[in-house]
């Protein structure tokens, strides 16, 4: 692997870490499997891209992307809590609707952001080459999101949110509406995912309605990988594991794509297949380990 491909995977790992933090929030903290993210990632890209093309500055565009993501999360939360639609189904419904909405926002299935001033241009420092600047900015964003999330999850609201995923009956008996917690949590999660989408669009110079496919699976794979490497004993560790998991996952993908399996050469379109296999492996390793221990005992 060349240095540039390595830096590329670091860059990808860091920007998608923001998305993984969002997935961690729903999947682990709230225990609410949320597939909306497959639609919110391109939503973030679409909103950022469209606004930039209309002359908005790149930072405000990202803020609006987060707002749009939060709104999408709100819809899923509303379907699941107020209309009592099963969480998985509720998120699939929103995701499906977002496909059309994203095309509406962009006016077509994809946008090119050539010659637009991105946050990377705005933050450019002459001394730092671009291939270092981008990952550094992504590191700052992912680290910042982790920090804010760490703090948030230790406030009263954060405690109630964590309790909602752990023991909803107990949380209700402590006077907290679990419905409201789900609404807040899913919105926050999708705001993060949309932010990731906006950042990806700015760094790659385009937004595409199909760029969200497989987001949830990649997110899950990263969360699970991270947990098995970093552990999940505390909130601080869990958020760190999301970032580490994202890095390891993107790295594994690059490695996998650079190998030739027999006569078959893997291409980027095989990514989703690799991810799916990876998730199955990650999910079954704890079970296999337990069985091994059984046999030895």
């Amino acid at each position: 692997m060349s240095f540039y491909t390595f830096m590329g995977s670091v860059e990808q790992g860091l920007v998608y870490a923001v998305m993984v933090l969002g997935v961690y929030l729903t999947f682990r903290v709230l225990d609410f499997p949320d597939l909306t993210v497959d639609g919110t990632l391109p939503l973030g890209a679409a909103v950022t891209g469209s606004l930039m093309l209309q002359g908005w500055d790149p930072f405000t565009s990202l803020g609006m992307a987060m707002l749009a993501g939060a709104l999408a999360g709100c819809v899923t939360g509303f379907l699941a809590t107020k209309l009592r639609i099963m969480s998985l189904l509720a998120s699939i419904i929103t995701m499906t609707a977002l496909y059309s909405i994203n095309i509406r926002i962009m006016g077509r299935p994809n946008l090119a952001l050539l010659n637009q001033t991105t946050i990377f241009d705005a933050l450019a420092v002459p001394a730092i080459p671009r291939f270092l600047l981008t990952p550094l900015i992504f590191l700052a964003v992912a680290g910042g999101c982790k920090l804010v999330l760490d703090l948030f999850l230790h406030t009263h609201l954060g405690l109630a949110l964590r309790g909602t995923g752990d023991n909803p009956q107990m949380i209700r008996s402590q006077g907290v509406s679990t419905d409201n917690m789900i609404l807040i949590g899913v919105s926050l999660s999708n705001a993060l995912v949309a932010l990731a989408g906006g950042l990806v669009a700015q760094s790659q110079g385009f937004a595409d309605v199909g760029m969200g496919i497989g987001t949830i699976v990649a997110g899950l794979a990263s969360v699970i990988l991270g947990e098995s490497l970093v552990g999940k004993e505390s909130v601080l560790r869990q958020t760190l594991s999301a970032i580490v998991g994202s890095l390891v996952y993107r790295f594994a993908i690059v490695v996998a794509l650079s190998y030739q399996v027999g006569f078959l050469r893997l291409t980027p379109s095989d990514l989703n297949l690799i991810t799916a296999v990876l998730v199955v492996v990650c999910l079954t390793i704890p079970m296999l380990r337990k069985r091994m221990r059984w046999k030895r005992a």
Partner: protein, 264 residues
């Protein structure tokens, strides 16, 4: 304090699984009452507590707390008035959160959770003092996850949490049933002390007739979704286990012999 009028709860109404859990209950709980509730399996005891707490809404009838009609209040809104300990020792706490975080949740019961810091240094000290009273050594483990603790330890914590903010009504549903006898005795003693010291209005469901007789100032016996015996004060003090057994015999004839009730 708590008034229940013409309460009726039917599960799966209109289907073949229809189950009338609460037939018709009228009950006035005075301030400071400590009621023990007994009754055979399926008598409707847990359902009654769930109706009071708002976990279920009744099909008919009303519930008033301090004169306020709370019949249709959602559970989380009613929680401002109610402290609860469940039968399952795992139900009352969040396993993945630390002892102090669980206490912070309980300390905030009934208030909107905001963006204030969850456990301040002052909270930590205050929780430590409370937990020290348990004498279980848990005051040094406030940063441990609750999932690491035993059922008895968790149930003791749940009890403290339920009374951390003075509740208008304390609901206990067989809260010692899942514990081994020495631990159960300890938790029961703590229950009695807390209720006495704070003068709490409490309802405690139990299958142990001795406990039902020894604790509290009022005893209620339920059967088939109805209250069939309600004695208080001097009359309750004179009641014996034999009296209760006779009541049960009247209801069921010989079936009493294999009833779980016979935990004396």
């Amino acid at each position: 304090m708590l008034q229940i009028t013409n309460l009726r709860k039917v599960f799966n109404e209109g289907s073949i699984n229809e189950m009338v859990a609460i037939r018709s209950i009228n009950c006035l709980v005075e301030k400071g009452d400590f009621i023990t509730v007994i009754g055979s399996n399926g008598a409707g005891k847990s359902t009654l507590l769930n109706l009071v707490a708002g976990t279920f809404t009744p099909n008919e009838g009303d519930i008033f707390i301090s004169g306020e009609r709370v019949t249709h209040w959602p559970e989380h809104r009613r929680a401002a008035y109610i402290g609860r300990v469940f039968q399952n020792p795992l139900s009352g706490t969040c396993a993945t959160m630390t002892i102090e975080e669980n206490f912070a949740l309980a300390g905030n019961r009934g208030k909107k959770p905001g963006l204030r810091w969850g456990v301040t240094r002052r909270d930590h000290k205050a929780f430590q003092e409370k937990i020290r009273l348990l004498g279980l050594g848990l005051e040094y483990r406030l940063k441990d996850r609750v999932g690491l603790l035993s059922g008895g330890q968790r149930q003791s914590l749940t009890l403290l949490m339920a009374t951390l903010q003075r509740p208008r009504i304390l609901l206990l549903d067989e809260h010692t049933a899942a514990l081994d006898p020495p631990t159960a005795a300890q938790v029961l003693k703590l229950t009695q002390e807390l209720i006495q010291e704070m003068g709490l209005t409490s309802i405690m469901v139990t299958h142990n007739m001795r406990h039902a007789l020894e604790l509290g100032n009022r005893l209620v016996m339920m059967h088939g979704g109805k209250i069939i015996l309600d004695v208080a004060g001097e009359e309750k003090r004179r009641l014996t286990v034999q009296d209760l057994l006779n009541e049960f015999a009247k209801l069921k004839g010989d079936a009493v012999a294999d009833d779980k009730m016979l935990l004396i």
